[in-house]
Amino acid sequence: MTGNVIADILSGTILFAVPLLLVALGGMFSERSGVINIALEGIMVIGALFSCLFLRMVDASGFGPAHPQLSVFFAILAAALSGVLFSLLLAFASIRLKADQTIGGTALNMLAPAFAIVLTWAIQGQGQTTILIPNWVRITQANFGVTAGSGFLERFFFKSFFMTTPIAFLLLIAAIVVLYKTRLGLRLRACGEHPQAADSVGINVYKMRYLGVGISGFLGGIGGFAFTVAAGSGFQSSVAGYGFLALAVMIFGNWKPLNILGASLFFALFKIIGSYAGSIPFLPQFNGVKSSEYIYLMLPYIVTMIVLILTSKKSRAPKSEGIPYDKGGR
């Protein structure tokens, strides 16, 4: 029995770490290029909206059930593309028009869920606020032609396995390579640290920042989709604050890809422990307290805060983030 619980906890941790990882990586690219991306929440909503609408469409047309994983792949692309397009709104305001980045981001965070609700109503009819996710989206043993077992490993791998997980892993590796091993990554980082210096050696700061925000839209959109499949109850025009949590995970991860991976796993683990607390034998159960589930719901946030306070001395944001770059400025 305990083995099953451990398998569930581990697979749940990975499931919820994936959206945090993707979105926090997105935020990292944006901030490393010098743009504070507070709009991650909105980007996630837009990515989730369009990927879920896509899945709904292919489900109705019969293409989805026939080619499930191909459809999921296209849905991920839809999420990424819509995320990029949406993030360009932030990029345009904060780079071209040199607007306050918090203001633009707040506007987009407000716009996205409202737009999602209005569009969902327009498509599904009034009051139909949930876009259901077809059940063929999940990867099961049957996809590999294996008969379903119920051992530890089967449970760990297949309890909740979606294509977003391997893709997130690939994107993490890609992010590390791009940021640290390519000329592009070096230029991008330079624009977040000292844009004037970058400009003086011929780097187009505006272009790099557009790219940074665009990548954050790409990853944030996929992250929105990953959150929606993980949450499991369909898309309800919201990602439950995960965009803001990802922002916290990014700061917690000190704007570095591997630290962000660690931070998102850490946060997700405590979140899952919180929701499985009732079935973990060695945790106190607070039987005398009513609605004691709230105690464990607080757990991931409190633990993250403690770790942040302990590790904050090393925390260092990109130096020029949040400051619009002005070619003529000093």
């Binding site: 507070i38 028009l97 203001i103 409202a114 604050g241 949590l245 709230y294 946030y301 942040l308 306070i309």
Partner: protein, 388 residues
């Protein structure tokens, strides 16, 4: 000096008004796209409902009180260089403290409000301390404590039998006591914010003096920010922390104080809303939107405390109008319109430059023609505008 200030206000105000006008036009286009046959009547509803009857007007005032407080909270933090995204948590804890005061301790409403302020201040203090002493970004602390506050409040309310509605004759236990139920009135008749006859004047139960309390607080905050040394120090820290440290201002103390005050303001908002007697706190697992709505209110006012009064009234007004859009449209169209207005106001830098130029040209033309209209010489006005 005086006319320089006049110009800033005029230019900021004009920029905001242009953003609002463009945002509303955008909203009308949206209505056309989603359901063209109702677009004109829908837009008419949106724009006029708030003034259509005294009842609706009361609703506008009723909603604007908490909006104004959370907006003021965000604006105050902005002015001091901090981003208080935790207004929703502070609002929630403020609401809880206020309700606890009137329910558990049988205190009168004004003591409840003060307790609400204390609750918000406590939750604002934490990110301030974390930022000042441990160098933890206030945004992340605020986000974490939004959730911690929400869950802690729900946990506490569930364990205080008196707080729940079912202790006072109602059947539901997923919300707090109805302060106007007859059973509760017998227990604590002074729990709700007085209506001072305003409810009869406007013919609506929603009306109370809450909005006037909020406006009074906004004026006090304006005085503190613009007329006191303390306010000057806070703003100086916002502009340049290192320079103010060098000038002998204790930046760490100011960060803590400014987050605490910002939290206190949001906490009063929670008290104002839930002590109205017409609202009950519902136990849900998602953050309250009121705290987040304070952000656009503050941004629309360029973080000016007096401006916040008008932007809160405006946002509340079109939200009431938005309710009248249903069932032809979903009321979230309002959020899209507000988002568009905020997004456009992000261009205000551009717009302000443009308005300043227009203003200048008009004044120059006027002086050249020997008109009596301009109150001051054009060249003086010019230097004033350039100083923006």
């Amino acid at each position: 000096m005086r006319n320089r200030r006049n110009h800033t206000g005029l230019i900021n105000g004009t920029a905001s008004l242009i953003s609002i006008a463009l945002g509303l036009i955008f909203g009308f286009l949206l209505l056309l796209v989603f359901n063209a046959s109702f677009a004109v009547s829908g837009f008419n509803n949106l724009m006029t409902t708030g003034f259509a009857s005294s009842e609706k007007l009361a609703k506008v005032f009723y909603q604007s009180a908490p909006l104004l407080m959370t907006g003021l909270s965000v604006a105050f933090a902005f002015k001091t260089g901090l981003f208080n995204i935790g207004a929703t948590g502070q609002y929630t804890l403020g609401a809880f403290f206020a309700l606890m005061g009137v329910v558990q301790f049988r205190l009168p409403w004004w003591m409840g409000l003060i307790l609400g302020m204390v609750g918000g201040a406590l939750l604002g203090l934490i990110p301030g301390v974390c930022k000042a002493l441990f160098n933890v970004n206030e945004v992340i602390t605020s986000i974490m404590f939004n959730w911690i506050a929400l869950f802690a409040v729900n946990l506490s309310i569930n364990n205080m039998p008196l707080m729940l509605a079912n202790a006072w004759g109602a059947i539901n236990k997923d919300r707090t006591a109805a302060l106007t139920s007859s059973k509760f009135m017998a227990y604590n008749p002074n729990a709700t914010i007085p209506k001072a006859g305003l409810d009869k004047l406007l013919g609506s139960n929603y009306m109370n003096i809450g909005v006037f309390i909020a406006i009074l607080v906004a004026v006090i905050i304006w005085i503190v920010m613009n007329r006191t040394t303390f306010g000057y120090e806070l703003k100086a820290c916002g502009y340049n922390r290192h320079a103010s440290n060098y000038a002998g201002i204790n930046a760490k103390r100011n960060i803590i104080l400014s987050m605490t005050i910002s939290g206190a303001l949001a906490g009063i908002g929670g008290g104002l809303y839930y002590l109205s007697g017409t609202a009950q706190y519902t136990l849900v697992k998602s953050l309250l939107g009121m705290g987040f709505n304070g952000i656009p209110v503050a941004l629309l006012a360029s973080s000016n405390p007096i401006g916040t009064i008008f932007s809160a009234l405006f946002v509340s007004y079109i939200q009431v109008g938005g309710d009248a859009l249903q069932p032809e449209y979903s009321r979230e169209i309002i959020d899209i319109i507000i988002a568009a207005i905020i997004y456009l106001s992000a261009f205000s830098l551009l717009m302000r430059g443009w308005i300043a130029k227009r203003l200048l040209r008009n004044q120059k033309d006027n002086t050249n023609m020997g008109d009596e209209a301009p109150a001051e010489p054009a060249n003086e006005a010019e230097s004033g505008v350039k100083a923006q």
